[in-house]
């Protein structure tokens, strides 16, 4: 009847392109999503960025004075002069001191032990104990970092110290609740991975479920298009979206916060493609499993949380127990954060990053395979 003798195996690119054009038009028309693509990275970056950029001032501090000496008083004065610390409590009882830190009334506790002055004059290098509530690592970290130098300088001006040159006493720092405080620059590169994970997951997780919910999947399945073509058509537009986001974050990071990019931007772009495709495939898998859009979002969150917590974005990877590190190794964000931090901050090359690059590639293959095989060709 029809002169056209069509063939299902030919025209792969044609059908994928048809799908792609459709997705682009839909994305362009979805104003809210479109705004989110730009707004999420900017908002997060500014929020996180300014949080890390603020130099902590007047952090509430408690002092446990176990002796009353001139030297003790001048140390306290030096502390206050740094403007980091503000002595809000002076106590003489150790239990009271602990309670203040525990309750969060103060962020720091400085303990001047009994016999400190005498030991110092004898050159015994006594310890000055500084306890920090490091549940807020950004605040605690920078103050602790500054502490050493500032106090030393302050003491050099004080006649009480016999030999200004040699370190005459030791500041023993004790970060409570969070042993390793993160440094600030790590956050912007980490944000690239986090924001990409979140948006890529959600967008694709919704893509198939939306078609099912709106009933368009029934028509789509009744037409000659294969699951791979549908998947590629839906994923490719978001790879571009992912690039725009990554560029936005890195660009803003450089402009606003002076984050360096020591390594190759091309390498970063190439490995980012792997990472974006991996997350898109994971999201796509969720969307083939979920019954509706709400479920798809919930599944994405289930995946997103361990990514945030176990990837080394929030907490230092090396500080986690072994089992958590194993889980972390299976998450794409872990490898990507290492890659971004290494390229941006250390200027690493592919040779140095080959383990994480291969791991990322492997995770992408796994995710894509699951996504394609999970896709149902019928409505059963």
């Amino acid at each position: 009847m029809s002169a056209r003798e069509p063939n299902i195996s030919s025209g792969f690119w044609r059908r994928t392109t048809a799908m792609l054009i459709k997705e682009f038009i839909q994305l362009r028309r979805d104003r809210v999503s479109f705004a989110m693509i730009v707004m999420i990275p900017l908002m997060q970056l500014v929020l996180f960025g300014y949080a890390i950029n603020t130099t902590p001032r007047d952090l509430p501090t408690a002092v446990l004075l176990q002796e009353s000496s001139d030297l003790g008083r001048s140390i306290l004065k030096a502390l206050e002069n740094t403007r980091y610390f503000k002595i809000t409590h002076q106590v003489t009882d150790e239990a009271e001191f602990d309670r203040l830190i525990q309750s969060g009334n103060v962020l720091f506790g400085v303990e001047i032990p009994r016999g400190f002055e005498r030991a110092l004059r004898r050159g015994e290098k006594p310890a000055l104990l500084v306890a920090a509530d490091a549940t807020d690592p950004v605040a605690a970290g920078s103050a602790l970092g500054a502490l050493n130098q500032v106090v030393r300088t302050a003491l050099q001006n004080d006649r009480a110290v016999p030999d200004a040159g040699a370190p005459s006493f030791e500041i023993r720092q004790h970060a409570r609740y969070n042993p390793a405080a993160e440094t600030a620059l790590n956050i912007v590169p980490g944000l690239v991975g986090t924001i990409l994970t979140m948006t890529m997951l959600i967008f694709t997780a919704l893509s198939v479920t939306r078609e099912i919910e709106r009933g368009t999947m029934e028509s789509l399945l009744s037409m000659p298009i294969t699951p791979i073509e549908i998947m590629l058509g839906k994923i490719v537009p978001y790879i571009i979206v992912g690039f725009v986001q990554a560029a936005l974050i890195v660009g803003t990071g450089i402009l606003l916060f002076g984050v360096p990019v020591l390594g190759s931007l091309w390498l970063l772009a190439a490995l980012s493609t792997l990472f974006i495709a991996t997350n898109l495939s994971v999201g796509y898998t969720f969307s083939t499993v979920a019954q509706n859009q709400l479920q798809a979002v919930q599944m994405s969150m289930m995946f997103f949380l361990p990514n945030i917590l176990l990837s080394g974005f929030m907490f230092p990877f090396a500080g986690m127990p072994t089992w958590a590190q194993w889980i972390g190794e299976a998450l794409p964000l872990t490898h990507y954060i290492r890659i971004v931090r290494a390229i941006m901050l250390k200027g690493s090359t592919l040779a140095e990053l080959h383990y994480d690059a291969i791991a990322l590639f492997f995770l992408m293959l796994v995710a894509m395979t699951i996504a394609v095989t999970r896709f149902r060709r019928t409505l059963d």
Partner: protein, 310 residues
Amino acid sequence: MTVAADIAIDVHGLTKSFDGRVVVRDLSMQVKRGSIYGFLGPNGSGKTTTIRMLCGLLTPDKGDGTCLGYDIRTEADKIKLRVGYMTQRFSLYQDLSVRENLEFVARLYGIPDPVGAARAMIQRLGLQGREEQLAGSLSGGWKQRLALGACTLPNPQLLLLDEPTAGVDPKARREFWNEIHALAAEGLTVLVSTHYMDEAERCHEIAYIAYGELLVHGTVEDVIEHSALVTYTVSGEDLNGLLHELAGKPGIDMAAPFGTSLHVSGRDAAALDAAIAPFRSRKGLVWAKSEPSLEDVFIDLMSRARDNFQ
């Protein structure tokens, strides 16, 4: 299995259950090429499920057959290329414009000039001036026309239309059917499900399905004849009162008002005559033996089927 060249759909013993509940049971049907085949049945009787099995969207639990000569189990890809399926629920992209929807379909099917093909279809549908309107914002009648346009765009040999005119006004409905007849005249086979009796009468052949079983099929005349239903049309005063008196009497299987008259039917002519005898001489009533309407036949089939299945 060899299929006569003039048979578009030929399936045998199709069975489908969902969660252990049989939704389509042992269904067989043959549809001739170039004919308009009406598919009728109450809500939930399995029409949509059957249509989905025909175009490869659902895999039957049992049974087999061919659609346009291709096996419905193994050659779904080939069937999809040649069949236009219009879903019961509007399933074009609401956030794409009329033109974009048509171009998308044209590209998927590999039509050489998708833009031109879409433009030609817009002309044919009389949608000029609305090309850029989002499909979701069209009125119900226009949506149906667009959906029909989208599934005829790739030049299919068979159209599967699932309640294409639900919620469409009479004029739009008539135009829709004129279009379907025009397509059939060009050689297209059309399988159309509907709840409207007037639409059933516009089909070359009909089939009636209830509780997943195909109960009758054939031309409208065949079906009415096959029913062996005897019907009287009563007109006159206080038909409502009469309806209440007649309802449930042995021998009377059905009594229902039709405009200003009442249809009283029974399967057993003798029992029916006995049951209505006391009322025939009532003053002010005119009794006339008549052909049962298609609706009478269907309602009777449905109540009989219910007796069998419950």
